[in-house]
Amino acid sequence: MSTGDTHAEAQEPAATATVPHHQVVAFVLMVAFFTAAPFFVYPVFLMKALCFGLFACAFGLLIGYVGLLSFGHAAFLGTAGYVTAHAAKVWGWSPELAIAAGTALAGALGLVVGALAIRSRGIYFANITLAFAQMIYFFCVQVPFTHGEDGIQAVPRGTLLGLLDLHTETAMYFAVLAIFVAGFLLIYRTIHSPFGQVLKAIRENEPRAISLGYRADRYKLLAFVLSAALSGLAGGTKALVFQLASLTDVHWTMSGEVVLMTLLGGLGTVFGPVVGALIMVTLEHYLAQLGAWITIVQGAIFVVCVLTFRRGVVGEVARLLKKPL
């Protein structure tokens, strides 16, 4: 989405060797928050926020820096969850291998879907990814290993690298935090690499990037695969946290939810998706007992964001600070 109205991007410096000061501060604050939080807040709730934060960051890479709105990212989250859960439960794989399998499969799926979808842009791209995700959803409903409506339940968390027993909440929490930080740094590095600069150039003016000799489709495809794989990483981790892989994560409402998280946090910002995910997970936590209200509230936030709050939370903060976040 070429966001002419996000101020923060316009001031974004070219790829520099050093990381801007304020972004380091923001990163340290974020890590400090998530390190301290489990001693005050229920860890499972935080792990959910971290998984969705990584998922939203992966999605945000695509919409914020390549300008592609995927409306089918749940497919990657969900299938990776199924693969991880199946590998850990049925094949008895260790957690790191199970998550790696889920991530790899999400990446491979991203390659196939991306190769087909990348030729279109804008609304077409959104529509096509949505339709593919729905195809994958029906596939997951029908194949026996996903256990249909029941999902894969009681997935063992196992022992990470043969050393760390993940069945205690604290151990699991810090493993999830490590995965989240690793994924976040990878995305950050990608955005600020020469590769990321080319992606931004394609977002701003694709014909021009092509005329300069960049193979735009390859760059976009690689970004799509990266985004899909990282969504898979989030999905696999989430399956281990909740010891469950279910149809909810493959359904298109999940694809919509991740769009909302990123939009609410701020499109084209690095930290926005994390903030958006944290807000949404908190909202869901408090609104869970109200049933259908959660959908109404989500929809209303969507409408308000689109109409009056297009920069998102972090986008607004960045505008006040006059610095990209």
């Binding site: 070429s2 195809m135 029908q142 049933g291 259908a292 929809g299 969507f302 689109v306 109409l307 297009r310």
Partner: protein, 293 residues
């Protein structure tokens, strides 16, 4: 027997396919008309289809007005709702990327569906077939319920009527011109913003009409449009976004294909449309009837 399938089952599924195709065609037609002029994918189309069915239900329950009145009133009511939505919300987004329109209508769909689910639960509310169309007739090779025949005929008439108005009348030529170049048409003194508003109203009125037609078949259910709309999106992609004839023909054709898949390979019946979409995208990225924009 045809290819080892009993004729009864084959024709039965063909009929269901045609019925589904009627709804696909009417909904994708509305989406196409809206997309052509507004350049947005109307994500709340499914929600407005559902509201159309609910208006019919309310009219019967609260005002005692039957099916035939509902067939007329529901599209007008929902069309007005559409006009209000366009004037108050969508209008503000035209200067932005078209994706914001998609996101806004997605949000609206969530609000509408959530509100109806909150008020009426997830189970369907019954709506009886009007007396004039009850029963059916035996065609010799199959039994054809009158109401289903009516839905197919009605959908065909509405679809081709719309096609005729857009492609063959003066009003339609304004619309097509505004789709090509709104600024120039405005310079000729045509009130394009009003045309956009009315087009949106008309598009969603088509959805509401489909909703009323669907009410006696599928019951009135807050979620009746939610999953249907995703299939319709795939239909629109296959036909080519913005193509009027494309959406009508692919709507009916895909309904029939889906019905036939249910007979010959039931496991794939949910996915067949999406598989066709993938193949079409490989061969013709702009859709069967579409042009690259």
């Amino acid at each position: 027997m045809f290819f080892g399938v009993p004729a009864q089952a084959l024709f039965g599924q063909l009929l269901i396919g045609l019925i589904n195709g009627s709804f696909y065609a009417m909904l994708s037609l509305g989406l196409s008309v809206i997309f052509g002029l507004l350049n947005i994918i109307n994500f709340n189309h499914g929600a407005l289809y559902m509201m159309g069915a609910f208006v019919a239900y309310f009219l019967l329950q609260w005002a005692g007005l039957g099916y035939w009145c509902a067939l007329l009133i529901a599209p007008i009511v929902i069309g007005l709702v559409g006009v209000v939505l366009e004037r108050t919300m969508l209008k503000r987004l035209y200067h932005l990327d078209h994706l914001y329109g998609l996101l806004l209508t997605f949000g609206l769909a969530l609000v509408i569906q959530g509100a109806f689910r909150h008020a009426f639960g997830s189970s369907g509310l019954p709506y009886t077939i009007p007396g004039e169309l009850a029963g059916g007739r035996n065609l010799g090779f199959m039994f054809l319920p009158n109401y289903r025949a009516w839905v197919i005929v009605c959908s065909l008439v509405v679809c081709f009527g719309t096609w005729y108005v857009i492609e063959r009348t003066k009003l339609g030529s304004y619309l097509r011109a505004a789709t090509e170049n709104p600024t120039l048409v405005r310079a000729f003194g045509v009130n394009v913003p009003r045309m956009i508003t009315l087009t949106y109203g008309f598009g969603v009125a088509l959805a509401a009409l489909a909703g009323v037609l669907a009410a006696p078949i599928y019951q009135v259910n807050p979620l009746m449009g939610a999953d249907l709309i995703i299939v319709v999106f795939a239909v629109v992609v296959i036909g080519g976004l913005g193509s009027i004839m494309g959406s009508i023909v692919t709507g009916f054709a895909l309904g029939i294909v889906e019905g036939l898949t249910k007979v010959f390979y039931p496991e794939a019946s949910n996915t067949v449309i999406f598989v066709i979409m993938a193949v079409v995208l490989l061969v013709r990225p702009a859709g069967l009837f579409g042009r690259e924009r």
